[in-house]
C-alpha cells in the first residue's frame, strides 16, 4: 500500500498518521477531554439560566421541585452511580485484556442505563398526567406560582432531556465497544477506546450528580 506503511511494522489499532500507539492514545485521550470541556460549557449555559431564575424565584422553584418523585430520583441516582462502577470495571478488564469480562461489564452498564431511562420515562409520564409540561396545557397547584413554576419545568425537561440524549449516544458508543471487543480489536496492548468511552460515560453520570440535587432537593424537602 502506501509507502509510509513500511515505516512501522503493522501494529493492530494504529492509524497510519500516528507514529506510535502511545502518540495515538495520548491524542485520542486529549481529544475526549477537550470534548468534555465543550460539554461542560454546553450544560453550563443551562446551569446559568437555572441559577438566575432560581435566585429570582426561589419559592416557585421549591414548590415545583416538591412535585418531583424523590424516591424514583434517588433510585435513579443509585442506578447511574452503579453503572459508573460497572464501566470502571470494564476499563479495568480491558487493561487486563479479559475479553469476556469487558463484554459482561459493558452489557451491565447498558442494562443499568436502560433502567435509568425507564424510570425517567415513568417520571415523565407522571408529569404529563399532572399537566406539569410547559405550554398552553400547563396547570399548577398553586396558581400564583404557576408562571415561574413553568420556567422550572421548562428547565427540568430540557436539562433531563439533554442528559437522557447523552445517555442514548452513550449506548451507541457502548455498542461500538462491544463490537470491537467481540472482534478482538481490544487487547491488553490496545484498550484506549474503552477507556475513552468510560470517560464519556462518567461525564454523563457527573452531570446527573449535579442535576439531581438542583432539581429534586430544593427548599427543605425533609420538613
Amino acid at each position: 500500500m502506501s509507502p509510509e506503511a513500511a515505516h512501522h511494522p503493522h501494529v493492530p489499532g494504529l492509524a497510519h498518521h500516528f507514529d506510535s500507539l502511545e502518540q495515538q492514545t495520548e491524542a485520542t485521550t486529549l481529544g475526549m477531554w477537550v470534548f468534555l470541556v465543550t460539554e461542560v460549557l454546553f450544560f453550563g449555559g443551562l446551569f446559568m439560566v437555572y441559577i438566575v431564575y432560581r435566585t429570582w424565584y426561589p419559592e416557585a422553584f421549591a414548590a415545583a421541585s416538591h412535585t418531583l418523585n424523590i424516591t424514583l430520583g434517588t433510585i435513579n441516582t443509585a442506578v447511574l452511580i452503579t453503572s459508573s462502577l460497572t464501566m470502571a470495571l470494564a476499563v479495568h478488564a480491558a487493561q487486563l485484556g479479559q475479553r469476556k469480562l469487558i463484554m459482561i461489564f459493558l452489557i451491565a452498564t447498558m442494562v443499568l442505563g436502560a433502567v435509568f431511562l425507564g424510570i425517567k420515562g415513568v417520571e415523565y409520564y407522571a408529569k404529563f398526567e399532572e399537566h406539569h409540561v410547559p405550554g398552553p396545557g400547563f396547570r399548577f397547584e398553586e396558581p400564583q406560582l404557576a408562571a415561574h413554576a413553568q420556567i422550572f419545568f421548562s428547565l427540568y425537561f430540557l436539562m433531563t432531556g439533554l442528559h437522557a440524549l447523552h445517555m442514548i449516544i452513550g449506548f451507541g458508543i457502548m455498542l461500538f465497544m462491544l463490537g470491537w471487543t467481540w472482534k478482538g480489536t481490544i487487547t491488553a496492548d490496545y484498550y484506549s477506546p474503552i477507556e475513552i468511552a468510560g470517560l464519556y460515560w462518567h461525564f454523563v453520570d457527573i452531570v446527573w450528580i449535579f442535576l439531581f440535587p438542583l432539581l429534586y432537593l430544593l427548599g427543605g424537602r425533609g420538613h
Partner: protein, 540 residues
Amino acid sequence: MATSTVLIPPRHYLNDGYGIASWLLTRDHKRIALLYLASVTLFFFVGGAMAVLIRLDLATPAGDLVTDETYNKLFTMHGVMMVFFFLIPAIPSVLGNFLVPIMIGAKDLAFPKLNLFSWYIYVVGGLFTLYALVTGGVDTGWTFYTPFSTVSSTTNVVPTALGIFITGFSSILTGLNFIVTIHRMRAPGMTWFRMPLFLWSTYATSLIAVLGTPVIAITVLLVAAERLFHFGFFDPRLGGDPVLFQHLFWFYSHPAVYIMVLPAMGVVSELVAAGCRKPVFGYSFVAFASLAIAVLGFLVWGHHMFVAGESVYSALIFSILSFLVAIPSAVKVFNWTATMYKGAVSWETPMLYAYGFIGLFTIGGLTGLFLAAVGLDVHVTDTYFIVAHFHYIMVGGTIMGYLGGLHYWWPKISGRLYNEGLAKLSAGIIFVGFNLTFFPQFVLGYLGMPRRYHAYPPDFQVLNVLSSAGASILGVGYLVPMVYLMWSLRYGRLAGSNPWGAVGLEWTTTSPPPTENFAETPIVTWDAYDYHAPVEGHVA
C-alpha cells in the same frame, strides 16, 4: 521566480484518486480543505447577493426595490450566511485545514474521520439554513433577540436556529481537532516557539471555538424549544428575562468576532514575514497576543448591552475590559509594522492584502474603542456607525486576510501560479470598493441613521448612494479572483515547491504536496521565519 526546471510532481494529493467518492469520502485534510473552500465560497456568494439587494434597495430613500418585510429578511439572511457559514469557518476550515498538519510536519490532523464528519455537519447545517431561506426566510436579525424571535416573528426561525446549532458542532470539532493536533502531532524539533504564528492564532481560535460555541448551541436550542414546545426561558409573561438571552448570545457571539479575525491575523503574520524577508518582530509577543485576545474576548460581552438595562457598574467594568482588548490587538499591528521596517518590502498580491488588512483593521479597531466608551456608545448604538465598524473588522480584516492567504498559498494548494497582474488589479478594486462602501456608513451612523431600517430621510441619500456604488465595485472585485484562480487551475504556470522563496515547512514539500505531505517526517532545527540564511532554489 524559480527556474525552468519546475515540474509537476508525479504523485500528489490531487491525483490520488479521481472519482466522486475519492473526494466525498476522503480523509486527507487537504482535500477536506478544498471541500470547505467550495462550500464557504457558495455561502459567500449567496450572502453577498443579499448584500447587493440591500444596497440596491438603500439607493433610494423610500427603499423602492423590496418591501420592508423582504428587507428585514435580506439583512437577517445576509448576517446569518456571512457570520455562521462564511466568516467563522473560512480561514480555519480552508487554510487551517490545509496548513496546520503541514506546518507542524505531520501527515494529517489527529482525527481525519472526525475532520470529514465536521464538513458533513457543516453541510447539513447549511442545508437547514438554505431551506429556511427558500421557504420564506427569517426576519429577526442574525442576533435572534427574544421575545421577537420566540413569540412575535412568524418566519422560519426554527430551521435557521437548528442550522446554526448544527453548524456549531462543525466548528467545535474542527477546533478540537486543531488543539489535539498542535499538542500531539508536531514533528521532532518543532517546539511551540518554533511554530509559525498562524498556528498560534489558529490555536487561540480553536480555544474560543471549543469554549464558546457550545454556549450559542444551547442558547439557540432554548429559542427553538421556546418556539416549538412553548417552553418558557425568556418569555416575560412567565417572568423570563429577554436580556438573559442577550447575555447568553453575546457570551459566544462577541468571542466569535475573534474566531473570525484571529485567524486572519495569523495569516497576516505569515504574509508580512514572507513579504519582507524578515522574522516577525517580537515573535513571542505576537504569539501571546493571540492568546490574550482569546482570553479577554470572553470578558467583554456586556458591551453589547449598554442600552439594554445593564447596571451602570457592569457597564463600567465591561467598558474597561473592552478597552483592554485594544492592547494585544495593537501589539500585533505595531509588530507587523516593525517587521516591515527596513525589510525588503514586496508589492506582490498577498502583501497588498496584508497592507489592506493592517490599515482597515486599524480603523475598525480604533472605532471599536469609540463603542467601548459607554457615553459615545449610547449615542451611536444601533446606527450605521456600528455597521461600518464591524464590517471594517470582518470584511476589511477577515476577508482581506482570507484572500491574502488564499493567494499566498494558492501555488501550494493548486501547484500553479495565478495571473499576478489581474490579482493586483482586483486587490486594488476590493480596497477601493470596500472603503467607498463602508466609510460613508461611519458618517451616516454618526449623523444618526439607524441600522436595519428599510427607508431613511432624503438628506442621507448622497452618502447611501456612495455606499451602494462602492458595494457594486466591491462585488466586481470579489468576482475577478474567482475567474483567474479557476483559470489558473488549468492554465497557470507551474509554481514549483517555493515560488515566494519563503521559509516554513509547507514550502519544503512539493506543490501540490503528496497525500502524506512529506516524503519523510521532517526534523526541525530552525526557528520560524529563519530568513537570515539565503533560501535555496530561489532567485529573487
